[in-house]
Amino acid sequence: MRRALPWLGLGAAAVAVPLVVRNPFFLHLCILVAMWTLLGAAWNVLGGFAGQVSFGHASLFGIGAYVTIMLYLKAGIAPWWGIPVSGAAAAVVSLPIGLLTFRLRGPYFSLSTLAVAELVRLVALNWESVTNGPVGFLITDLPPVRILGRAVNWEAKEPFYLTIAVLAVAGLASTAWLRRSRLGAYLAAIREDEDAAEAVGVDTVRAKVLTLALSAFLAGCGGGFYAFYFRYVDPDAVLAITLSMEMVFIAMVGGLGTVGGPLIGAVFLIAIGETVRARFEVGHLIFYGLFMMLVIRFMPEGIWGRARRLLQRRAAAGAAAPGGLDGAA
């Protein structure tokens, strides 16, 4: 319970944002930050905690987006119910993918994810009877809904923000839970030395497949939310390689294998993106690439990782001083 308190606090703070941020554009930015936090956390679970670098997470995101939009348009299931179904669908799809690709290690695994993602994109592009091919799907209007007797205004940003804020906080909390869990310890062992992990009896494939499923669930929910918020899904929008790279960027810049990293990474991603996009159309990707290179070169533990280390060092110095370590030295 004590461990849950900070998360409830963070959740409350996140939900309270619309009370302060009234401007729709800034709220839109908050929505993007929360969405990318969720996606960064999804990637980080696998790439950061387990050390399995995926270049194909866009496929899980895209599957989520397609599931939500198709459930709504073809079966009339409202998008907010579609989001968890999207997560579950992405997790289910990830199982066979994981069982196949996790037979490979390190860079070979990364390359295979790239190929899987391209295959998924080609399927979405060419299986026109199901996916509408390159045209994709468009939601023209959302179903009316009443909460506490008031009709929800789908033209405002608040309902979307609240949805994604809850999802993002839940995503971060689940990574915090993962890190403390037995599975998290297995993942750390796998990341440091896979052979040694196997030698002490960790079922590495099982641990990695489970982690991928969790990662896929989060990414799928993110995709479902994307469809709900942007109301438009096509292969270029939700299955592009660039999306996978942006998730990598967030986890990398924020800090691989940290709980808070994705939030920092997402803030950076959106800040760079919006600053640059205002001036030129595609410039933001230049800076994503540049930033990734700079971070790996100078701060491989990421911003959150570096900040935490500095804080710990300061705390250690503070604790040591009154104890009279000086005399010992």
Binding site: P107, S110, A115, L122, M245, L290, I296
Partner: protein
């Protein structure tokens, strides 16, 4: 029958160029254990080099190889010296992510400077294909094939017969032993990265008259490149040549006998199958 022969011919012609790109990636992997995700962007730079050589200086693309090969070599050597060298001790995942960043940077800088427009190179002597025995052979592809075969042959001789070439192969087989034999492994690495980049760049120059040029073409090329080197076994030069030809054939037969839309998909499927069942490559010579 004629379609089959036609597919065979175009498959082999394209395959030789694929092979050249693959060889560039594979020698770099062999020596440094780096999977260079920015390799496709080097091909792209070569393509644009050929384009601007023709537009601005009136230089024939196939002649401009003489210019772009040393330029790309120098660019690659500099990238290794100034950027990658400090990343390599951090482990293979760091270099993988670092080259991913480099690829984003280069591709989107190009997109910013040159815009996303599709460009083509029209050579007056290449308007109509040659038709030996009723098989259509596009002239630019045929010339590119010839040069690619020459370059790859020269590379083969270089790796087999010269001291530097032997040093590259020795480092690739066992870097520690190479150091003990007095090889300056750092220099070999810089040289190899330059060599790999030059091969990618020259392949780009040669491909330019046969493909559409656009800044993000590297994205699809780099994936194909991985298919090639994994088919042949990462680190193996003959494997990459065979893998390149094989992918060329799979694509051209796939486009004719399966469907145009799925021809890339067949390549990726083959890639996954090989990764899963023969991770050291179809010929069992690579290093998994």
């Amino acid at each position: 029958m004629e379609t089959a022969v036609q597919s065979l011919v175009s498959g082999v012609l394209t395959g030789a160029l694929y092979a050249m790109i693959g060889v560039g990636l594979t020698v770099v992997f062999g020596v440094m254990r780096i999977i260079n995700l920015a390799h496709g962007e080097m091909v792209m730079l070569g393509m644009f080099g050929a384009y601007f050589g023709l537009e601005l200086l009136g230089l024939d693309p196939f002649v401009s190889v003489v210019v772009w090969a040393p330029v790309m070599f120098a660019a690659g050597a500099l990238i290794h010296r100034l950027l990658l060298r400090r990343i390599i001790p951090g482990g293979e995942l760091n270099t993988l992510l670092y080259t991913a960043g480099l690829s984003l940077l280069v591709a989107n800088l190009a997109l910013f400077v040159w815009t996303g427009d599709y460009r083509t190179i029209n050579l007056p002597y290449a308007a109509l294909p040659l038709r030996p025995f009723g098989i259509a052979v596009p002239i630019p592809l045929a010339i590119a094939f010839g040069i690619a075969v020459l370059v790859t042959g020269a590379l083969w001789l270089f790796l087999g017969r010269t001291d530097l070439g032997r040093a590259v192969r020795a480092t690739s087989q066992n870097a520690e032993a190479a150091v003990l034999m007095g090889i300056d492994v750092e220099r070999v690495a810089t040289f190899t990265f330059g060599l790999g980049t030059a091969l990618a760049g020259v392949a780009g120059v040669l491909l330019a008259p046969s493909l559409y040029l656009y800044p993000t073409v590297g994205e699809i090329l780099v994936v194909k490149c991985f298919v090639i080197v994994v088919l042949g076994g990462l680190g193996s030069v003959p494997g990459a040549i065979a893998g390149g030809i094989l992918l060329g054939l799979v694509e051209s037969f796939g486009a004719v006998y399966v469907s145009m839309a799925w021809k890339d998909g067949i390549g990726f499927l083959l890639f996954l199958l090989v990764l899963l069942y023969r991770p050291s490559g179809l010929f069992g010579v690579g290093k998994a």
